[in-house]
């Protein structure tokens, strides 16, 4: 039987550098490797000896697309170590900042990075020639997300206003008012986005994944919650290390995460949606149903619809927070250094982001551990690709390669994050 090998040296429309190698032998898939050659940057090593106050600013440099996720996980982990709780308007402002990042990151991924695959365009710029109004709508949505981040955080990439304990400066209520006007337009645009992605041609592919996400009793998860799975896990974040492990494989500069006793699992919008559908707003639930999503989604290609639904949710949540906001008297709660270990997980746009720090009594970092969402998803991406390719061996290499890329982009991989990740190579022997 004919054998072949398919290789994508540089995966495009992902954040960071990686590739994919698939070897097909005798009519079945012999090997799938997600190869991450993004150069390692050693954040966990050089955090040692730095002050606890520096962790948010330093770790946000891991990722230019989801810096807020790093700011949030770092700040919350430090607060856990130092016995500090941030509540009230400061907690709400953090959630608002995160909503901005979800809107900005999801709009970027839906319109610029993923939708072109569904319609057969090389990129969003080519797509814009045939669908100018769609691309312009996407860009304006993205801009509004960035405006939220800029107002609360100081700038869209690597915001400067977050600190352990809260913020440096909180906005006055009237400063947020112009955002509300933009967000009202964004609510309609997000609704239209859900309808538009709902009409995209969806490849048929379903899996009963082990899904891992945060779950919070009162809200759709963002900054806080218990770590839960659809396979029975339900633990506080302080017990994360007892249930997950990271492995180092030869072909990747990113560590692979596994759920102990279960293996690979899926983090990200699909996991959040499946386990927290009840916490979405009625409008977001209704839009999801109208776009053809069930209460449970098992087709990873539909993650583009879930991202649009989450964008709608984030817009509504941002509006709610702005409406209820009253400026707090102090921009931050007081923090004093002490020895201890702190844990936090927050929901980055692409999934759970875990941070753990051990501090000495002067507040210096003795040890840091960071598990980004893409590390967690590497194994499941490989598993998905194996099954996906096995069902499509009759496709010519070029078409199969593009569909594999589209599959990888279901996960919105962030390779800069994971390298502490894409070439596609399909080998047929």
């Amino acid at each position: 039987m004919k054998s072949r090998s398919i290789k994508v040296s540089f995966l495009a429309r992902v954040e960071g550098e990686g590739g994919l190698q698939i070897r097909i032998k005798g009519g079945s898939v012999a090997e799938v490797k997600l190869v991450i050659f993004e150069p390692p940057r050693f954040f966990e090593a050089f955090l040692r000896g730095r002050q606890f106050t520096e962790a948010p600013d330093i770790t946000c440099r891991i990722c230019g697309i989801c810096p807020v996720a790093y700011l949030m996980s770092a700040a919350h982990a430090m607060e856990d170590a130092l016995g500090v709780k941030v509540s009230g308007p400061l907690r709400d402002l953090r959630r608002l900042l995160y909503c901005g990042e979800w809107i900005e990151s999801h709009a970027l991924h839906v319109f610029m990075l993923h939708a072109p695959d569904f319609l057969g365009y090389q990129d969003a710029i080519q797509m814009a020639a045939d669908h100018p109004e769609v691309v312009k709508m996407g860009l304006r949505l993205k801009k509004i997300g960035n405006q939220v981040v800029t107002l609360v955080g100081g700038r869209e990439i690597h915001p400067i206003n977050v600190r352990v304990g809260g913020f440096y400066r909180t906005p006055a209520k009237q400063e947020l008012a112009p955002l509300a006007e933009e967000l009202k337009w964004a609510r309609e645009a997000a609704l239209e986005t859900v309808r538009w992605v709902g009409r995209l041609p969806m490849p048929a592919f379903e899996t009963d994944y082990a899904l891992v996400t945060l779950r919070h009793e009162a809200e759709y998860p963002c900054n806080e919650g218990r770590v839960v799975s659809n396979k029975g896990l339900n633990v506080p974040v302080q017990e994360y290390d007892a249930h997950f492990l990271e492995e180092h494989v030869a072909y990747s500069n990113a560590l692979h995460s596994k759920l102990k006793g279960r293996g690979p699992y899926f983090a990200g919008p699909l996991a959040r949606y499946n386990l927290n559908f009840d916490k979405l707003t009625p409008l977001a639930q209704e839009a999801a149903r109208a776009a053809g999503l069930g209460r449970e989604v098992r087709n990873p290609f539909q993650s583009i619809i879930v991202r649009a639904v989450e964008t709608l949710y984030a817009v509504e949540e941002a509006l709610r927070i702005i409406e209820a906001y009253e400026r707090p008297e102090e921009p931050a709660v007081r923090v004093e250094p002490r020895a201890g270990v702190g844990y936090a997980a927050t929901e980055a746009p692409r999934g759970l982001l875990y941070h753990r720090y051990r501090l000495d009594d002067s507040g210096a970092i003795l040890e840091a551990k960071i598990v980004p969402p893409t590390s967690q998803n590497q194994k499941i991406i490989e598993q998905d690709l194996r099954r996906f390719v096995e069902g499509r061996l009759d496709l010519p290499d070029e078409k199969l390669t593009w569909q594999c890329e589209q599959m990888v982009r279901n996960y919105d991989p962030c390779i800069s994050c994971a390298t502490h990740f894409l070439k596609i190579k399909i080998g047929r022997e």
Partner: protein, 259 residues
């Protein structure tokens, strides 16, 4: 008259967070106009389409940290007429240049179970340490308006108008009260402007993420931090050893305070 041939743009990434090239996609209002003026030949973060060089304008983000990248940047340079280094990583080595002060093998052992799988260089170095750079745009991250200025200037055949002065000038222009007067250490006096003095505007001290301004005097500022604000020597080391740790002016100052 035949239509003018559009300049070919390529965008490359080395060791970085991707934020500086993302800044181009963050120009939501201008993106379609910019790509209308150029032929987007290579930009992996945005497109599957990949065209071989030569390129007219090349934007590079990230620092050089592997032997593979040290070879690749030479090829990118050969293929490019005008090469711009974007951001702290490309201009000075970035936050990952903190390895330059330690033994990188200790770092590898701290992060990876199998150090033997990891290939990396001892130092994180700027693009200019490997090839000729035609223009450097500083910042961690760069300012997207300044990026548009660099691209517009290239298209118009002129020099970009990017002021080399300190954060202080922008801070004064915004009418801020100096945070140093309020007792907060601020790197603004020695740091390259361009961010819009956002940190002091948000009531915190500048942490130097645009790198040294032209002709800075970090020793004088360090003395002020120590004598008037009571910062210990270890604090001075860390203040200058961050996103521009490897920039010569900041590097010298941090080393001067190391025991």
């Amino acid at each position: 008259m035949p239509p003018k041939k559009k300049p070919r743009l390529s965008v490359w990434k080395f060791a970085s967070c991707d934020g500086c090239q993302l800044s181009l996609l963050d120009c939501e209002d201008e993106l379609l106009a910019v790509v209308g003026e150029v032929d987007l030949a290579y930009f992996a973060e945005a497109s599957r389409a990949r065209c071989q060089g030569p390129y007219d304008l090349t934007l590079v983000d990230g620092s050089i940290t592997t032997a593979h990248d040290a070879d690749l940047i030479k090829k990118v340079r050969r293929d490019s007429k005008f090469l711009v280094a974007l951001g702290a990583c490309a201009c000075s080595g970035g936050i990952q240049a903190l390895r330059n002060f330690k033994d990188v093998h200790d770092f590898i052992r701290a992060v990876y179970q199998h150090p033997e799988y990891i290939e990396t260089l001892e130092q994180s170095t700027p693009i200019s340490a490997h090839v000729k750079v035609d223009y450097q745009l500083n910042g961690c991250p760069i300012n997207k308006t300044q990026l548009l200025e660099v691209i517009s200037a290239y298209l118009a055949g002129r020099t970009p108008m990017i002021a080399p002065h300190s954060v202080c000038l922008q801070c004064k222009a915004r009418g801020n009260i100096c945070v140093m007067v309020l007792g907060t250490p601020c790197l603004g006096p020695v740091t390259h402007g361009g961010c819009g003095a956002i940190c002091p505007t948000y009531h915190r001290g500048c942490y130097g993420c645009y790198g040294p301004k032209e002709t800075p005097n970090p020793a004088s500022l360090a003395a002020w931090f120590r004598d008037r604000l009571g910062m210990p020597e270890a604090g001075l080391v860390q203040a200058f050893r961050k996103f521009y740790a490897n920039a010569p002016e900041f590097r010298r100052e941090s080393e001067a305070h190391e025991k």
